[in-house]
Symmetry: D3
Subunit: 321 residues, 6 copies
């Protein structure tokens, strides 16, 4: 039976399905009766859950967080969906379909990764080629690269988002590099491929999207810079001849790709290639954010709600081409 | 005889050629002898000129500014080129080849304009098509569009620079629009074609590049916005059916294309199309500036001088692809 | 019978009057009973309305938004006024007195407009005089000018606010122009008269104050600039001799009157007249805001709540003159 | 014989007059001959002086700085006025007319001060009246108030400038206070009268304009605040009944009158009166600066040079009223 | 019987103790029954209080704010502690132990003040010694100095916090002054002792922490500066010889000790001593804030909640030394 | 014979000594005679050198840059020291005393390094101890650590400056750590020891102070972070058990020690230890800069010239302790 997604539940439905439960709390009403408040969620959204006439035993049985089978009924409360729970049964995580509970890219991961490899295969500079191949040969890292989101909140914040963002930037770069002949294409392509690689370690994305401790302390910019140097060290240790000036210029792209100090880049772009990676990253992230904000949400207004990251509301009226 | 360009003169050469003279001053040495200091220039640069043993009559004969035939000799003074003048003869402006004296795009203007017209010819939305055609039909404006620089100082600051910049942006947009399917291509192409049109009035570019009075008071952003509305008004007056919402969205692209208030945009981008025009404009301007800064100047260091506009020096070492 | 204004209702009153209803929602209590939550408002404020024992039929009958006759009782809930509704009857908008529901200037509109016309009648420069007269002759525009608010939220945010703000600035200017003899009085007076004219199109003010789509995309600054040029074009087309340099200097005042890029001005003031208009606009807007904030709200403290726009709380203790 | 002012000397004149000399230096030419370089100035400007064939004895006789009688000849050197000195004779300061050497307000000091006193005489609040009278009774302070400049560089930077600025602000306030009825006029007038009083101690203005040590360490804002409290303490000690809340509100105007933290105000305006003093101060200072910049300098362009304090060039073309 | 502190009450306890009551409100339930909502607090925190079945008489008897004896029961409501009140009896403030209701330094006030006096006793410069002794001789001020908090919210926001902060800074300065030999130790010690003295007047700390009217209008920076000058004036009036340059340099430390204009300093540090006081103040305040944020709050995460003042979350995992 | 230092040469001296020559240029006078302009310097400063009656052969013989023996005479020209050269002879670098030509710490390097080692020897946490020992065991790095400057321009910009700055910070930390008991002393000491280690690679300091290419592209912050991870990797590879969370917390100190994004830190301090290192670094750097600026330069004013880095002039009057 197909999962009944949160964002499609309307008030008054009978609920008989599995959801992720988080932050359950045991409370008493003003009359002294016990009840449990909790959040129920899947990859499409979150709703309040209320189990009236609850007991401490039921409360203790709940995973915090984890998966539960819910029997109950939906209603609107203060304009938000609320699920009144009659029965709640813990479910083993191994029995659920994780893709129902975490958002995931709508594109084909295998095809995107294949295209990414095809594009970086065109790199001919020996040092860059060796470095890129060393990353591609790290199967655990590549698995994470295909699975990680690009962010917790901002853009491409779903499983496979990092790959989707990198893949799209590589395609944009391939399309416009012929128009900027003085730019070193190898450096741009290697720079894009690696620019956010540190996000595989900055973020955790097992049951939900979050920052790792190490990610919060160090950040993906410095982690990417470190990975590039560690791979270069490994290649050198294996006897490969790696031009350290090229490693510095590539590391500089990683460090400077946010383009401004206040966005966490410790260096500003100082090569044509660093500028191009910075602009294409920003372009792809912003287009993704803007299109998503315009497509989502209630359509009863020509304007989206205020978008804090871009300091404006967005106009969503469409015109024919 | 080919013009002896300023940037190719070395110390010790005999000079016998035409240059633009500006800011001549009659001075006396500490011994009381009169001499004339002036600037001599062509499209490749500027040098100090000194005429020792000068007279007030010679000084009075000089155009201020204008063109002169110079006989003399080059030397280095305080590390800069200086031309010691033996004889100076005013030359009528009609006799000189203006292209020797004002920098000009190295690309073919006719071909670029033809390509621009071919790209915008793909626009199908009736209101946008009518507006773009109305601009194309304004022959005086199109002549200026092909001749104007894109800036006095920053990027594409030479005759034909506005066309070159617009042309390149249109080609970049054509290459990447297929990768951003939710974006209205017609609006992006029309927006790029028109985004800097006001520079034809903001700048003067007859004998040198400068701001007009009107340009300094109003700015090209508001001038472009005004032109779009004036053309729309003219079309409406002629009985064409122009969707005013489309005119507003196109005007919004013109107003917001600098992307930030402090860069003179009175509105921030609020549509996907406005974001794309803003990013492509910035990308093309910055790549042009960065590549030019790296290619120009003394090559005795791996680093350019400090670039104030981008708050860094640029690294100019090249690596093989 | 006089309307019973929201801001004068105390807990425990019987309610039998007309209010504007907005955002009604049908909900069920934890027992399954249906009730309707809604907002009730007039020009003095807004209260929560609750109709217990409601039905879907009643809910469907409500305008969303619109006017209703309410029978019920007031009470305090969580320290806010709430109206418990026994009966609700939709009312046709044509039967209500709109001035009870939208705030309006307390000054006499006709007298203010008469004074405005008297002040600008002193302008003698032919181009400025022709332009100002062209605006005054546009009766539809002048009607809107007398009706529009000066803002949705900040200062003079009520019907007639634009006129009141412009009128007061003109009187301040008249008082101080003799003290600044080198300033062109005609330009200052014309600049003030027109500086916010674009707000007639930026804002909508039929049933409530809001931004129009066009207003949000373009802004009143650019709209004012466009209006000035359109009127100048119309005059020229009719054969009047209009000095375009004067149109530019007047347009510059419109563009620069916010004084800073981050407040949406694409140009900074570059004439003495533009500086004066900028300062008098800011002075009048801030004095209005500050005095209103000090006069309104609970008087149990010497300090107002935090005022975000001016980054401080305001001290409201009064001293005798 | 009238003084031959620096700004009226043209190249080629015989010089036989008194000037202020500063920063004289004894140098040797490349041939080993001694000469003296110095600056010669009066209240209209400054020129380079050169005495060729000088001796150490002459150099030692020069005041550093002070006044000298110069015999010589003017010339242009590198486009600047230079005076070639044949003979230089020290002059006792008591014999010169100081007003020739320091810029001074063009308005009548006695009349302005009389008007200032007439305006503040209208104050009726007892505490404010007592405070203002206490300042007026301090004859040494009032003498300095009439003599001090308002700044070293920015606006009203000449003897009597502080009085001129305060006087003009009081007149502007008198003109517009009737238009802002909710504002405490006594507080505004007292606030304006005192707002810059600390400049009498922040600046020195005997032979040239400069900051005192104490002025640089403390600033006129805190000095004014201190003066107000010292006068209030003195009145209290003499048995006058001074409302300390009024002293705080007046002190607050002094502290906040620069309007922003980055302009050195430790508090932002928090009363309607503080806002008004802040705006009128800024208006009067900026109008004075802008008008002066437009009126001064070469008239061969419609635009002044770049004005750093207001981040623009100024347009100086005049139109008939 | 020991007071039952708010932060140690768990759900389900019987409550029979004295608390501070604030903001009581009489409300009616949806059935029309009256109840009273109020806040109950002591120095460890605050809880909601609810008295169901209340009457207007009970409501009228409550102090607003003040102390009450509460009989009732604790429960959790929406995850927050709530106290259900059966009986409430007003208590005279003289009968309660104030230290139970306002947070207070955990260090020994007498010992800290003794150490402060011992450290400043080492000052030998006559003017500074006289000034410091004049402050120490002001017993009312010293009593307030020992009692005042250092802030309402940020750091050391409890009774005795000002003394604790000053004491710790003096100890840090004593430890590092030998390492910075060119710094005037007397000036640093006197500067630290006095730097926040104005907080005794800026804040009120009788029944709760708040700003005084005078404090909000003037700020502790200017108040400290004023105090220093008033003490110096008093010493001079008594015939002591006080070097006014030293008073300025000490006043400069008070004015500049926040280090930046946007933090309310009207002058930036301009002496080595002012820099040291600024850094040690900032260091001690930040260390106190950071350590408190790390130690407080739920320990179920390695990270604290977002700390707005320092724009980050804090990592709280501990490692062995 | 002792070297005749540049900063002690007065006009009129006979010069017969070795100096570093840089940027020599061959020029011709207005009469056609050749002369050579060059800079002559040692560790105390720089002077202009002029060799009149020079030849191309002499010019070609000069090192660019390098060391030369000069015979000539000093004079003042435009108020700056200038050396008129009669004879110039190239000198082999091996024959000169480098310490005469590059500024060097005035403290004893060996003693400082011994004290540094003694302080970090107190670290007991096994992971931190192992890491610090791994750095200490890298003799080439420690040699550079003892030799490198702390900056090219700002503070401690001389050989041994990095050690001096680190040493002083460690002593300050040792003095105040007992006053901040909740801070992990091991982490602070290890953090200080390593915080600027990357400067050994960011800067070059053989014949003059400059940035390396790699230093400019990457910066010492990221270089230090990389070094810490490389040493940790090396220890792990050798079988040591290193707690990676500790490596992250130490790396975080390196990344955040500039305290603000705009100073090049990609992360803001998020631990008490990171805050302490940030403050002590800033304190030591600023105290060093401020004291140096006050001590240097002409003493004829109570104020130093404007100090751009701290946005003020500094007051240099001294008072007795």
């Amino acid at each position: 039976m197909a999962h009944n997604f949160i964002n499609q539940i309307e008030a008054g439905q009978t609920i008989d399905d599995i959801y992720m439960v988080s932050d359950p709390i045991l409370r008493s009403t003003t009359r002294g009766d016990l009840y449990i408040a909790m959040f129920l969620s899947d990859r499409t959204g979150q709703a309040n859950g209320r189990m009236w006439q609850a007991s401490e035993a039921v409360y203790n049985s709940l995973p915090k967080p984890g998966f539960v089978h819910i029997n109950g009924k939906s209603e609107l409360y203060q304009n938000n969906l609320q699920i009144i729970i009659n029965r709640v049964t813990p479910i083993d995580a191994s029995r659920i379909e994780l893709s129902d509970f975490m958002a995931r890219t709508e594109k084909n991961v295998d095809e995107m990764f294949k295209e990414v490899k095809a594009i970086v295969a065109k790199i001919t500079n020996p040092s860059l080629k060796a470095l890129v191949d060393e990353f591609l040969a790290d199967t655990q890292l590549m698995e994470n690269f295909c699975k990680a989101p690009a962010a917790v909140k901002m853009h491409h914040n779903y499983l496979g988002g990092l790959l989707e963002h990198t893949h799209n930037m590589l395609k944009v770069a391939t399309a416009i590099l012929p128009l900027y002949g003085d730019v070193n294409a190898d450096m741009v392509l290697a720079g894009i491929f690696l620019h956010d690689m540190g996000k595989t370690e900055e973020l955790s994305y097992e049951m939900s999207l979050a920052y790792t401790d190490s990610g919060q302390l160090i950040g993906h910019i410095s982690k990417t810079f470190l990975m590039i140097n560690q791979k270069a060290d490994a290649l050198t240790a294996k006897g490969n001849k790696i031009d350290r000036a090229i490693v510095d210029v590539l590391g500089h792209i990683a460090l400077s790709h946010h383009g401004q100090y206040e966005f966490g880049s410790p260096k500003l772009p100082a090569t044509a290639e660093a500028f191009m990676v910075n602009y294409l990253d920003d372009l792809d992230a912003k287009m993704s954010q803007v299109i998503k904000a315009i497509d989502n949400g209630p359509k009863d207004s020509n304007w989206t709600p205020w978008q804090n990251a871009i300091q404006t509301r967005l106009y969503r009226k469409k015109f024919d081409d």
